[in-house]
Amino acid sequence: MEFKYRIGGKEIQTAKAELTEKGLSLGGVKDVVPGVFFGSVFPHGPNTVKRFSDLVKVNKEPSAVKAIQEEFPQVLGISVAENLGTPALFATISGVPEAKIQLDLVSHGISKFFGILLAIIATPKGVLLVDEIGSGLHYSQLVSIWRRFINTAKESENRVQLFASTHSFECIKALGEAVAETPNDLRILHFKRDNGESSVVKFAGEDALCAIKQGFEVR
């Protein structure tokens, strides 16, 4: 199996995946791109806590905290604290002055939003792969959250490419609204399987946006 790819407009590179006696081998890779993968089941893992801690150490956490406050006004602040011997993210929640609540327990959606946002910030010039990005996120906030992810990924100090999968047309429709002014930010890769053969159909830019706006099936 061969993967052909191009980084930053440079010449096309070919990586070869081969099954050897020692296992799966990937050869021919010259430039390695940092990447993060989020599965569809989304526990608030230690990597997210580490990413936040790393931001705190260089005084760069305020922008991330501001983002979560803007999207979810009930969150007043985020901090790291130990929970049963393991560091975890805790949130100060409006109306609950007596204690901070572990972010995982506040809301799956908020926790997921923050995890992805931190991964974007922590993976400059990298790639983020998010499976079922819309799950757990409230439908009414999808447009705003897409915009936040896309704008953060496009910031000059980040330059992250975001790959997200979804089976939800609601989620795709929200993406369409989020990129309505910048359709060239949009690529849809539609995976299909016919008679056991898999293939990918690509829709890009204005065509993809129009397909979403006109309700065509692109999932």
Partner: protein
Amino acid sequence: MRDKAGIRSQVIETIKRFNLEAPYLLVCEGKADAWFFHRLFEVRKIESFDIDIPLIQKDEGRTGAGSSCFGEYLRGLRTEIQLNPGILKAIIIESDNEADPQVSLEDIRKQIMDVGDYGVPEEPYKLVCCPGNTIT
């Protein structure tokens, strides 16, 4: 037995969204037109058409009917054609004349031209090919 309104809403529901199955696609300006043609094809036992309407994006300040969205519709339709290649042979666009038939025609012609890849009729009822194709 369902009442007329019940049947109507059901039919309109089935008009949107579809996978291309028929060789011909009739794109109507609005739901009422689509409903009329749906019933006409049903009575005449014409089964070789899919019927669809462009969705109007109300928040973009467009006025009038779906005729202002034919271009956007045709652009989006390309994804459907890519996903289901070799099925669609021809598209008929149905639109009202409004106050001035020539103005209406020119508006739709311009929308088709702006999308590209589709044949652009010079006059109503004129069958034209996509660039590079021939009528058989």
